[in-house]
Symmetry: C2
Subunit: 315 residues, 2 copies
């Protein structure tokens, strides 16, 4: 936790994820220097099982907490950015849909504005994360990049000239739902063999359990690669599926780079090294894009939300 | 052939394709009205088998012919746009590579400028075609669209806010090289099972021959759908592969529409109707984008080249 730099405005970023809600206070300096370190940060579990209303209440509570922490330092946040999971209509300020939370067309922007009396920008978590990587993180030097977030699920963003592509229906870069060869598990989206069923943390854990009968996390699987053939096989399958999806992105958008984020990116070279190899093997037209790890880690969407808030004031 | 409208500048567009080189004279009115009708147009076969030098000579000859036809009408083209097949570096003015022509790093822009003493813009044939569809054709009303050209090969472009995406290595939208499920033919690109091997005019003709021993064109196959089970099976396979690739484009860029061009688009509803159905079946996230046929037909790259010429003068 840092000190507020005097004089400049401060902003609240909120990241509503499937597992955790994070809210943080950024001042101008903290937001726009390379570290993007929040002045204060609060995290609470997302009460997803308790339903949409509980999630909205929890989101308001953590946001209020950060606003009050700001006020205790004699500062008043100039704007709030909320980055939400699922399908988000940024222009309309709506959380349109999230299978995890179960909400439909929740006017999140208006709700937070009304409750906290501070201007609010609503964004999509992965596009916000990609924006943060573009401005302050691993995408900084790249004219374009594909952002791939491998966590509980698999999602992404396509960043062109520093701007995450939204798409005509706010659905660009649904990379987790690209079908991969040889995959046959049903996906909640209604399709079969989606990347997410094989390469998400959840998919990896389920595949390991199917092979061994043992229940572990994807991080456990990563930790066992050296001496557990089942772990190695499940991991290799996930890596290959990720490479297949990235090769597709390379053919469709030809990005200058790929930035890997999400929880599984914490595995570092255990993920990145084989993924680079698998991608190079698959790319036959042009050079394979360089693959780098997210610089902002599990704060990328939070920082991106702070940037959305700052943008409301022309930042 | 039309009359030159008096007063305004005129432009030459040249489309260097694998089969035909087309050059046309456009005046301001012809280029920017909806019809995009050239004042004069010249077509010659591409002497691809005679090698790169012969193709450059042929391209210069047809271009000179159009310039002289303009001069006969007391007009002098203000700029020339050349849209070339293969890998094109627009910024450097280089025809980098084309398997069909066999050229490598030919400085086409400088060559045409030197020979004709008129400013030249070099473009990529499919991005030029997509630009023309965006400004004057079937993409006119769409904020974004995927352009899919199904001809001898399969290629495309992704148009965002009216601008075809170039990509970091001038390789965006290599849609013909997306791998499709169940395809196993080797592709000249070095990969296996590329869309192009199944769904191009060449791929369709080869697949029909493999089934029946008979040599026909893809257009013949389209003409036999009603009473030739082999033709119907080959066509259905091509349609399904195209739908698979379009579903991928929908997941990656979420375009507002899809525009189908190239020679096979002349089959009209024989192609578009089943393709719409197959795409709707595959899209599970969000609405399937509406699928429309190119409005400029086999002139889209030619008109696009004219637009590139006009843009050189700020058009």
């Amino acid at each position: 936790m840092g000190a507020l730099s005097p004089g400049g405005p401060c902003f609240v970023g909120v990241d509503v994820g499937g597992t955790t809600i994070k809210a943080a206070l950024f001042d101008d300096t903290a937001l726009f220097d390379g570290a993007a370190r929040p002045v204060v940060e609060v995290r609470e579990p997302t009460p997803a099982d308790a339903g949409p209303d509980a999630v909205v209440a929890a989101l308001l509570a953590v946001t209020r907490q950060v606003v009050e922490l700001a006020q205790a330092r004699l500062a008043r946040p100039a704007a709030i950015g909320v980055a939400a999971l699922g399908l988000v209509d940024e222009a309309a300020g709506l959380a349109v849909r999230s299978a995890r939370i179960g909400w439909r067309d929740v006017p999140l922007r208006a709700i937070v504005e009304r409750e906290l009396a501070i201007p609010v920008a609503l964004g999509h978590d992965l596009r916000a994360a990609a924006l943060a990587e573009a401005r302050l993180g691993a995408g900084r030097g790249s004219a374009s990049f594909a952002f791939l977030a491998v966590g509980t699920g698999v999602g992404g963003a396509v960043v062109l000239d520093g701007v995450p592509l939204t798409g005509a229906h706010a659905r660009a870069a649904e990379i987790g739902h690209l079908r991969v060869a040889g995959a046959d598990l049903a996906c909640p989206c209604g399709s079969v063999g989606c990347l997410e069923t094989v390469a998400s943390a959840r998919g990896i854990a389920l595949a390991y359990r199917a092979r061994t009968g043992r229940t572990v996390t994807a991080a456990d699987v990563a930790g066992r690669l050296a001496d557990d053939a089942d772990a190695a096989a499940v991991w290799a399958r996930a890596v290959d599926a990720l490479a297949e999806a990235l090769a597709i992105c390379q053919l469709v958008v030809d990005p200058a780079a790929v930035v890997i984020g999400g929880g599984l990116s914490l595995a570092g070279d255990l993920l990145l090294r084989p993924l680079r190899g698998a991608l190079a093997d698959r790319v036959t037209l042009g050079p394979a894009p360089p693959l780098v790890r997210s610089a902002l880690g599990d704060r990328s969407a939070l920082v991106g939300a702070g940037l959305l808030a700052a943008r409301l004031l022309g930042g």
